[in-house]
Amino acid sequence: MAAARRKTTEFLIATEKCVGCLECQMRCSVVHHRVFNPQLANIRVTPAKNGASYYTIAYLDSCLKCGSCVRACSFGTLVFGASEGPA
């Protein structure tokens, strides 16, 4: 699929903007596995134990950098790096 072929190298994460909607995880899983299942996503959003941000966000090594998560983010938490742009 087009999203998987796209070679994006950098996503910027602004954790303080994360609201915990988990849409990045759901979108990643449905694009790559055809199921809404955050456990299959290549990005993980978990409640932060301490600190100013309410959530922590981490990409797994298995991430294909397709950018689905960035396009799914409605809150500006995930954005493409300066040299990138939406497909």
Binding site: V19, L22, R34, V35, F36, N37, Q39, L40
Partner: protein, 643 residues
């Protein structure tokens, strides 16, 4: 993986024996009642023993997820708890956002049915096929925030924890259940969980949920997502939550004080609870899964000991609408302290504040001795109100009267006290009809659950809308063609009773699908989109008209569930106070129609109720669906119930 939007399974847990059983979801039945909220009603009809005590071990607590919950359809997080209200005796459904519904679905269950009574305080842990009843141990007695944090620490951050506080443990009738310290199963269900000695239900899942046509589903979801992104008000919703319309609500008169008798000073509300007052204490925006316009929040406050603290709030406007105005407390810090304490204890802050206002009114009228409230008259200093919350949660002294909720308190305090209690089936309404007599306030009379508005908040909370707005909205909501006529709509307005009859079906569509009722979300949905998403998820072609019919079937079942418990038109009562004008700035606000063109007397209100039942196809005298209506909806098996 493909699927049909449903997890396809129901988990039954008997906490007396810790026995579990997984049964397949009857897909034909789920679709007949749309699923989600509707299927919860169907399960309740099948499983709730008629006229059974709400706290009896055999009384089920039925938890369900919306059909679209757990997917990327925008703002579809809803979970439902259906059980019997301990005080009122109604069998009703509490609706919550949060992530419990999604995680239950991802664990592979559309519904969870809990029966029995645990031998010792326990909590239920569910992770896919692993279902365990574990000792609550040190969590029992802890407040909701501490217990939730500890359970998340133990079981992982991918869990949702639906938890009760000391109030629920002690059987307080106005106890609620909180999902991950944020989303509320409000009003009463905390007592139901407490009766089963269940501190919490912890759920996490890795099975996920598939839909029939994921490409089509995503395409529709993304089109909706764009509507959210393009909403010119979206930035205000997410930044200020409902505080950005607080000045409009203050102007309309929605903030009411002194036991529902007087509108708060507009200036006073604006001075302390303006949009910028909220952002000054707000730490971050929080949302439910799949939301594109979240307005829950984490906020900072200084506690009674001067310590800087942080807390979470589902609907921030509650600080002034549900707590501050009702108690006459006009400082953000104080109302935040009270909200935080209520959340921690697991007390429904709205009902608690409304009841305290009522009791102080009784003392002022000489109907309740000043010494009756543990030796001293009620005062509404923050310290004192916190103290009453603690006593209520522990059922200590006069706190036991508050703990009983309106109906038990009325039994204790007598008929004169009842005269001054603004409640419907034991619960105060969210809004007052004298400010706006519309679907939220009229709906709180017809709702089997008592003084609650159905979902799709805000349709007539916003005052001054033109008649043509409602006709356009009705088309969007899928009112049948015969209802889109002079029968209901005219250039001067609409027939509220008949409008409500169809509007409740739309609300039921929203509920069954699991769509959030907050206005920034629901207003972007319409009947076509709902039908399209339902079809793409389930693989079942469903026209908007069929969707509305399924919703009507589910709502009728909900009504019949309560008819079986003995409820009828006699219980759909307008509060007496609504026929006495509200005081405002030396003037008054009598009950008027929504368009403020004519006063509404009790006789007028009863005539509106007549029209509502008639439009529903329900018997006007009893408020029960007629045989013809039951047969039209394929519910002949309910003939004779409740008669």
């Amino acid at each position: 993986m493909t699927g049909n939007g449903f997890a396809g399974r129901i988990l039954f847990v008997d906490v007396t024996t810790a026995a579990t059983e997984v049964r397949p979801l009857d897909l034909d039945e789920a679709r007949r009642f749309l699923g989600g909220w509707g299927m919860n009603a169907k399960l309740a009809y099948d499983l709730v023993p008629p006229r059974c005590d709400a706290r009896a071990p055999e009384m089920p607590i039925i938890i369900g997820s919306g059909v679209l919950t757990g997917t990327s359809a925008p703002s579809t997080p809803k979970a439902f708890i259906t059980t019997k209200c301990p005080a009122a005796g109604t069998v009703t459904t509490a609706v919550s956002g949060g992530d419990f519904g999604a995680r239950l679905k991802w664990a592979g269950y559309d519904h969870l049915v809990i029966t029995g009574c645990a031998a010792q305080p326990s909590y239920l842990y569910i992770r896919d096929e692993e279902v365990r009843l574990l000792p609550a141990g040190e969590f029992w007695g802890q407040d909701i925030y501490d217990a939730t944090d500890a359970l998340l620490e133990r079981h992982g951050g991918d869990c949702s924890v639906a938890c009760i506080g000391p109030a629920g443990e002690n059987g307080v009738n106005i106890a609620m259940c909180l999902d991950n310290k944020l989303a509320t199963f409000g009003r009463t269900v905390g007592a139901n969980l407490g009766a089963k000695r269940l501190k919490a239900v912890v759920v996490a899942g890795s099975r996920g949920v598939g839909v029939a046509d994921h490409k089509r589903f995503l395409k529709i979801a993304q089109q909706l997502e764009k509507k959210f992104a393009d909403d010119p008000l979206r930035e205000k919703w997410t930044k200020y939550a409902l505080f950005f319309i607080a000045p409009m609500w203050a102007k309309a008169g929605h903030f009411i004080t002194n036991n529902w008798s007087e509108v708060c000073s507009e200036e006073r509300v604006n001075e302390h609870f303006g949009p910028e007052d909220f952002t000054a204490v707000k730490e971050s925006t929080l949302s439910c899964p799949s939301c594109r316009s979240g307005d829950k929040a984490s906020i900072r406050f200084e506690d009674l000991n001067g310590q800087q603290r942080q807390t979470t709030i589902s609907c921030p406007i509650t600080l002034v609408h549900g707590i501050g105005s009702r108690l006459g407390i006009y400082e953000m810090r104080d109302t935040t302290i009270l909200h935080d304490r209520a959340n921690r204890l697991g007390i429904d802050a709205l009902t608690f504040a409304s009841m305290l206002g009522w009791l102080r009114d009784l003392q002022r009228r000489g109907l309740l001795a000043e010494t009756a409230t543990d030796g001293a008259p009620l005062d509404f200093s923050t310290v004192s109100v916190v103290d009453w919350m603690e006593k209520t949660a522990r059922r200590e002294g006069f706190g036991a009267v508050l703990a009983g909720g309106y109906l038990h308190a009325i039994k204790t305090l007598g008929p004169e006290a009842e005269e001054h209690a603004l409640q419907i089936k034991g619960t105060e309404p969210d809004f007052d009809a004298r400010v706006s007599f519309g679907v939220e306030t009229f709906g709180s009379v017809t709702n089997p659950r008592g003084g609650h508005d159905m979902p799709v908040g805000g349709l007539t909370v916003a005052v001054g809308r033109k008649p043509e707005f409602f006709l356009k909205t009705a088309q969007k909501m899928g009112f049948p063609p015969e209802a889109l006529s002079a029968h209901i709509f005219s250039p001067e307005g609409f027939d509220l009773g008949r409008f409500q009859a169809h509007y409740e079906n739309w609300c039921t569509v929203i509920n069954c699908l699991g769509i959030c009722f907050r206005m920034q979300c629901t207003r972007l949905y319409d009947q076509e989109v709902c039908a399209a998403l339902y079809g793409a998820a389930t693989g079942l072609t469903m026209t908007p008209a069929e969707l509305m019919e399924g919703a009507e079937r589910a709502y009728v079942l909900y009504r019949m569930l309560n008819a079986r418990e003995g409820f009828s038109r006699a219980d759909d009562r307008f509060p007496r106070q609504w026929f006495t004008p509200l005081k405002r700035n030396g003037g008054s606000m009598p009950l008027m129609d929504y368009f403020k063109k004519r006063p509404i007397s009790r006789e007028d209100a009863e005539a509106i109720l007549d029209a509502y039942y008639e439009e529903k196809g329900w018997d006007v005298a009893t408020g029960t669906p007629t045989a013809a209506t039951l047969q039209r909806l394929g519910l002949s098996e309910l003939l004779g119930v409740g008669v």
